[in-house]
């Protein structure tokens, strides 16, 4: 809060560089005046972010699971995953467009690539940190790899997963915005470049504020679902349906 005030004053008095840092009040005004444009453009970006994040989470679990069950796949996929993170998007932009077209697909793919990685790394780390004795006991019961995964590794990697998820959620929206620089007609990313090109930095900051708020909101949601993903850490007793 105090920071915001300081910023406002600094901008008004002219301490800040021209054009590129608007006063917070200007940003707020832009946010309001431009709400229709923002809303329209948000839609695409949000959809991309959601689909990308959802598929990213899904794929992360899927890959982590098969990488755990099939050890050689782990050795093969792990480096490939790292490599996908080390390729600057802009460098391969034409390839993506060429293969996936101009629509949402390549952007969703980028969001998936961004959000999948922190999650899969944390799940795999969670698997590796599962209690060895707990696994041994399960093996004594006659459990196969799959059952060990199901009954020990997955539940005990939940905290790790949440840690990765928080990172991924923070990335989901901004990566959806950045992905739009691949080209397209709609979306906050497109809007952002355009406003920048037109020296409408207040509008550009309005976009940034919007993304930040969205990201913060969904970070909050993650903290909230933490209780549902690891109920044993928060409750003495499991609620059973039909019980009062």
């Amino acid at each position: 809060m105090g920071l915001l005030l300081l910023w406002e004053v600094a901008a008004r008095v002219g301490w800040l560089p021209e054009f590129i840092i608007p006063a917070p009040s200007d940003v707020l005004i832009a946010l309001w005046q431009d709400r229709e444009n923002l809303w329209m453009n948000s839609r695409v970006t949000l959809i991309q972010a959601f689909i990308g994040l959802a598929l990213g989470i899904f794929l992360a679990f899927f890959l982590a699971i098969i990488m755990d069950v099939i050890p050689w796949l782990n050795r093969a996929l792990y480096p490939m995953l790292v490599v996908t993170q080390t390729i600057p998007t802009v460098a391969i932009a034409p390839i993506l467009v060429l293969w996936l077209g101009y629509d949402m697909t390549p952007k969703i793919v980028l969001v998936i690539l961004t959000t999948l990685f922190p999650i899969i790394i944390s799940i795999l780390n969670g698997f590796a940190n599962a209690d060895k004795d707990a696994i041994q006991l399960l093996q004594l019961m006659g459990a196969n790899r799959w059952q060990i995964l199901r009954h020990v590794k997955l539940p005990s990697s939940m905290s790790f997963f949440l840690s990765g998820l928080k990172v991924s959620v923070s990335y989901a929206f901004v990566s959806s915005v950045v992905a739009e620089w691949l080209g397209g007609f709609e979306g906050l990313g497109v809007y952002m470049i355009q406003t920048k090109r037109a020296f409408a930095y207040d509008k550009m900051f309005a976009v940034i504020v919007l993304i930040s708020l969205l990201s913060l909101f969904f970070m909050g949601v993650v903290s909230y679902i933490e209780k549902y993903l690891t109920p044993w850490r928060f409750n003495q007793k499991k609620k059973i349906r039909g019980e009062k």
Binding site: Q139, M141, H151, W232, Q236, K237, K239
Partner: protein
């Protein structure tokens, strides 16, 4: 028959067990006692196949394939914190491919016997130490296999609860045809439950003493005050003390 022949084991360069020979006949209960850290739990881990014997052989009915034929109650309770009491007890049967419904029915039966039904839906962290141990015991019973390894199965229980479990165990092993190897630090318990007591002692641990016992005929309540029992106990304690 479970036969342990000349088994030895070393952790790194520390020899923990040496020349262990034990035969467990079908239907027998054999107790193992010995000082803390001598290698009793290690021996069980060897039998269960969690670690591999570096010397000697372990065979069950002439086969080295032991995994899957033995129920093992670990010394630490190892309840799965993310599962409730009943889910923990259902787990062995679920793993063995039983339907959820059947596993649950069976778990409820066990919970009934042990008067533990009201705790069925609690998570382990809300249980007391002795309650956790009882859940672990029920879970081991749910393995439903004829050979049992019980490592300090009753150590966290008060005298009365323990006596109840002893009684239950004695009845059940006959009914189910269980053959068990039990580790205990309670000499009374060893005498009450077993057909034979082995003492493992020394560094590395070796079997130094073997005592056949038979207090099956006695009432569990009174047994500990019987002179024969007291004599056997004194004998074991003396043997343990010498070093």
């Amino acid at each position: 028959m479970l036969s342990i022949q000349d088994v030895g084991f070393r952790y790194g360069d520390r020899q923990v067990l040496k020349n262990i020979n034990i035969q467990l006949q079908k239907g027998e209960t054999v107790a193992i006692i010995g000082p803390s850290g001598v290698g009793k739990t290690t021996l069980f881990n060897l039998i269960a196949g969690i670690i591999d014997a570096q010397q000697g052989q372990i065979e069950l009915d002439g086969s080295k394939e032991i995994k899957g034929k033995i129920s093992y109650m670990l010394q630490k309770d190892m309840l799965y914190p993310h599962y409730t009491v009943i889910e923990n007890i259902m787990l062995p049967r679920i793993i063995q491919g039983e339907s959820k419904k059947h596993a649950q029915e069976h778990a409820l039966e066990l919970l009934d016997i042990f008067q533990f039904k009201e705790w069925a839906n609690y998570y382990p962290h809300a249980l007391s130490g002795g309650m956790r141990q009882r859940v672990a015991f029920m879970r081991t019973a749910a393995f439903d296999r004829p050979w049992l390894l019980l490592d300090e199965a009753f150590s966290a229980l008060d005298a009365i609860t323990r006596r109840q479990l002893h009684q239950w165990f004695k009845n059940y092993r006959e009914k189910m045809g269980w053959s068990s190897l039990i580790i205990t630090h309670d000499v009374d318990e060893a005498l009450i439950l077993s057909d034979r007591v082995y003492i493992i002692k020394g560094q590395p641990g070796e079997i130094t003493f073997e005592l056949p016992v038979d207090f099956k005929g006695f009432d569990v309540e009174k047994i500990i005050f019987e002179p024969e029992f007291i004599e056997a106990k004194r004998q074991l304690l003396n043997e343990l003390k010498e070093s």
